[in-house]
Symmetry: C2
Subunit: 207 residues, 2 copies
Amino acid sequence: MTQLEKNTEEKIFETAKEVFTEKGYEGARMEDISQRAGINKALLHYYYRTKEKLFNAIFDMVMGEFFENAISMMGSEAPLFKKIELFVDAYITLISKNPHIPNFIINELNRNPERLVTIFKSTPIVKNNAFGKFAEVVQEEIKKGTIEPIEPIQLIINIIGLSLFPIIAKPILMGILFKNDKKKYNEFLESRKKEVAKFVINAIRKK
Amino acid sequence: MTQLEKNTEEKIFETAKEVFTEKGYEGARMEDISQRAGINKALLHYYYRTKEKLFNAIFDMVMGEFFENAISMMGSEAPLFKKIELFVDAYITLISKNPHIPNFIINELNRNPERLVTIFKSTPIVKNNAFGKFAEVVQEEIKKGTIEPIEPIQLIINIIGLSLFPIIAKPILMGILFKNDKKKYNEFLESRKKEVAKFVINAIRKK
DNA sequence: GTCTATACACTGATAGAC
DNA sequence: GTCTATCAGTGTATAGAC
């Protein structure tokens, strides 16, 4: 039970992460963060000096973690179709648990596109070259004639787009298709795991 | 040449549309809008009273227009495959010209989900029931055995997601895949018009 | 480390002259 | 209708006591 009570710095970080990812940089309020964390506003500045530094700490961490997760999912050693099934399932599961993260990252990168450069230096994405490896597998399958010709980049974007879009566009789907019925929306997301994989595999499989 | 000089109210509206769609409600500054419009800050309030009213006017208009456009594209009387090709092409073209709109709408709906309800009352989407008609066409093709069974909703979301995602995620693609090469990114978007249609049709066509 | 009180800057909004 | 000047409110940040 020693660690049940988090120390203040961690508590601030966790709370700020919530607020920033929900509201974005401009929409977030230091007052709001301090209240949710059950502490005083001045303490935020004591630990992180400025709103921007606090935000940066969170953004770097969230973005790095998100990409590492996504990339590592792509690296399984299964054959292509199985790989796709595994990735889609794991990816949708991951984002469902962190539904604000994609928008959070996109919005911040729109405000400040140079951010990507900095982060990539400290992330194993480039070194591992998971995209490259995936592309190779795709090329091999094309040569073998098991799938239709397709540029690996197009395929990767299709897979990610199909997985991600219903979560990014949640408020629209909720309003239009599901009439604010949370349960139906969640069932739909769950159904996407198989649906997307099936759709992608159908699209590329040579019959 | 009589209309080259827009009247002030229109000028404000157009400029505010730019700023709000780029920066979002929280990030937008009345001062910024007035300066870009080449007028005084007080004039904004003279015409629109408050920031929120100005924003609402723009949001309602942008959202309404965007959905009407999207829906009308879905309503062509072509056979299904041709319909998909036409829609994807027109849709990607539309968003390419207004790349900030999707994020703008999604962010605002996250801040204020009830907005959808209001807007739908004054938009011909529900009446025309374009989604419903599209769904019928899909069902017919399934019965005829020309395409694999698929829920129409899943198909629609796949089509929109595949078209929209590369534009929503532009800063990520630009940073990772295209190394900030605008030309390459635009070429990629252009290639998506055929790629997405082909991918979708391959996925559902029964062979 | 944590709090209260407060300084300081910014932004939305209004008053009033022209 | 359009401007300048200014107010009031809010949000970030700091000073200083405990």
